[in-house]
């Protein structure tokens, strides 16, 4: 290996590391607010990448059908729940709006020729289609069992993940896809030649991290979410409902996943089932951060990116094994420092 190659590998590692860091952040957020280990985090990534690819190759966007379907189920569940609470039939406005939105993305996705429209329009439509999946998945699968034991939540999370992969196969087909880079230029930075998409990934991850930080530190909504993560009882007592917190954190998770998918799609070939390995590496970062510390998790995720990139060079067929083996010393160290951890609460 020479310096040139090391620089290239470092660049690659940095790019994937930035994405893993975002996903780790999202996984910690959802876990600390809802106790759900968000196994389907990666599906937001693949769905948005594949939606972008479908638009660019002139195929119809069929993901809206899933959004609409889930929205209808959510609407029915909300109507029944309202009926049980108030003993009268009412249609909750937010779930009706989501269903209308679902219909909207189905209609646009099947009729508009997005390949003739600009990149920004495509990105906007991908976000409009993928982000509502977050709150909808929460409403349909997790809200009814919000107070179940963690293990049950985990099993449902795995089931949702598997179901989404199946849905992904039906919607996007088995072929992998890659999208066009945002721009073709390369940047010369000292001895290194950097593809501009690499800078996009790193820049967008950094910007999103800063935006999230501002949201959590300065807005009342963001503070409410953090409060729900720190003390559920306290949050409930001041009127931050677990449903509100769960829905908001899942919306953010979907947003983070969708943005990640849009920026990595030009670099990596994404298949309908690529989500699992992507989010697993986010998990490694999250676990290094003990599922609670964002900065440590982000650092861990960056390390995972580097380890992956360099092991691709030395022992490419073992790269996944090497990455996950990294987890063992971390877990060992954690378990020595923290001898016993309770299950719930």
């Amino acid at each position: 290996m020479n310096g040139q190659i090391a620089l290239m590998l470092g660049q690659d590692g940095m790019t994937s590391g930035a994405i893993y860091a975002l996903l780790a952040l999202s996984i910690i957020l959802v876990f600390s607010v809802t106790r759900i280990l968000l196994v389907p985090q990666g599906e937001f990534v693949t769905f948005s990448a594949l939606t972008m690819a479908a638009m660019q190759s002139g195929r119809p966007v069929r993901l809206g059908v899933l959004v609409f379907g889930l929205a209808l189920v959510a609407l029915a569940m909300d109507i029944v729940a309202e009926r049980q609470r108030h003993r009268r039939w009412t249609v909750p406005r937010t779930s009706l709006a989501l269903a209308a939105h679902g219909l909207f993305v189905v209609g646009l996705g099947l009729s508009v020729p997005f390949d003739h429209l600009g990149l920004l329009v495509q990105i906007g439509f991908a976000l409009l289609t993928v982000v509502p999946l977050g709150p909808l998945i929460y409403r349909v699968f997790f809200q009814p069992i919000a107070s179940a034991p963690s293990l049950v939540l985990l099993m449902v999370a795995i089931a949702v993940h598997v179901a989404l992969i199946g849905g992904g196969l039906l919607i996007f087909g088995p072929e992998g896809a890659r999208t066009e880079p945002f721009s073709d230029s390369v940047v010369q930075l000292g001895p290194a030649i950097i593809a501009s998409q690499t800078l996009w990934v790193i820049g967008v991850s950094a910007a999103l991290t800063v935006a999230l930080w501002l949201f959590f530190e300065t807005s009342l909504w963001g503070k409410a979410l953090r409060a729900a993560a720190f003390n559920r009882l306290g949050a409930e007592l001041v009127g931050i409902s677990p449903v509100f917190a769960g829905r908001t954190s899942m919306t953010l998770a979907a947003l983070i996943g969708a943005v990640s998918g849009i920026v990595v799609a030009p670099i990596t070939t994404i298949y309908y089932d690529s989500g699992f390995l992507i989010s697993l590496k986010g998990f490694v970062g999250a676990i290094i951060g003990a599922m609670s510390s964002y900065p440590v998790a982000a650092l861990g995720a960056l390390m995972v990116g580097q380890a992956e990139s360099f092991s691709t060079f030395w022992a490419s067929s073992y790269k996944e094994i090497i990455v996950f083996t990294l987890l063992l010393p971390v877990l060992l160290w954690r378990s020595l420092r923290q001898p016993s951890v309770g299950d719930d609460e």
């Binding site: 503070k223 409060a227 409930e236 007592l237």
Partner: protein, 260 residues
């Protein structure tokens, strides 16, 4: 007090944990501007009672606020009706600043145009100057007394009508306990109605207007606080020398209730 409708009226309230009844057929009334206390030994069902009143636990029986029965007492409704609970654990947002804890206390008022958040915050700081001094500090770094103050402030900032306190004196040094009870009296003077659950029966009976003794989930005795403080049964079980409130002495039978 007897002529107007009471702020909170509870009748035949029963609450169960899975299938074990922890509170049985409790009748309880809190009038506007009153301090009403519920005393009783550990495990009597005091926390369970408050949890049901704020809507954290399902219950049987009726709960009325301002004479209007609440059909399904769920937490968002009870909070909207102006009930506020400071739990035994205080449930602060530990890593967040004192000020953020307070601001979040008014979260339910976020869409309430008539609510002036800055003014409410100033009022809390005026009442608890210590919190103003520590406003940039993380809640978990406060002393026990300051944390209790913050819990009170967080519950008060949304201007509740009924403040429910679960053993606020727990874990505080005697000097702080005295200060805390002075604050509670100050709140009543400011027009806040208070339902005070305490094991420290002596201090609670001193500030309260009316008192209930809860034992094994039932109201064993009730009456004006000064009358109960002089009741020999209360003295021997909760106030007298050697009386240990944490163990308590159960009244074998339901005693006659002094006229209200």
């Amino acid at each position: 007090m007897t002529t107007s409708t009471p702020l909170l009226q509870v009748s035949k309230l029963s609450v169960a944990h899975s299938d074990i009844e922890a509170v049985s057929e409790v009748d309880l009334t809190v009038g506007e501007g009153q301090i009403v206390t519920v005393i009783g030994p550990n495990g009597a069902g005091k926390t369970t009672l408050l949890s049901a009143l704020i809507g954290l636990l399902p219950s049987r029986g009726t709960i009325s606020v301002d004479g209007e029965m609440i059909e399904r007492p769920e937490i968002d409704r009870m909070i909207a009706r102006g009930l506020s609970l400071v739990p035994e654990t205080r449930a602060l947002f530990g890593p967040m600043t004192v000020e953020d804890n307070l601001v979040l206390g008014a979260f339910r008022r976020r869409r309430d145009a008539g609510f002036d958040r800055a003014k409410a915050l100033d009022d809390v700081y005026a009442r608890f100057p210590r919190l103003w001094e520590r406003r940039r500090q993380a809640a978990e770094t406060l002393s026990g007394g300051e944390q209790q103050m913050l819990a009170l402030g967080r519950a008060l900032i949304g201007r509740p009508r009924l403040l429910m306190l679960d053993e606020p004196s727990l874990g505080l040094a005697p000097l702080l306990v005295r200060e805390l009870f002075r604050m509670i009296e100050g709140l009543r003077a400011a027009g806040v109605s208070i339902l005070l659950v305490e094991q420290n029966a002596r201090a609670a009976l001193r500030v309260a207007d009316y008192a209930y003794v809860l034992e094994l989930g039932r109201v064993g005795l009730e009456g004006p606080a000064d009358v109960l403080a002089g009741d020999p049964r209360v003295i021997s079980a909760y106030l007298g020398r050697g009386a240990d409130a944490t163990r308590g002495t159960s009244f074998a039978t339901r005693h006659e209730i002094p006229a209200r």
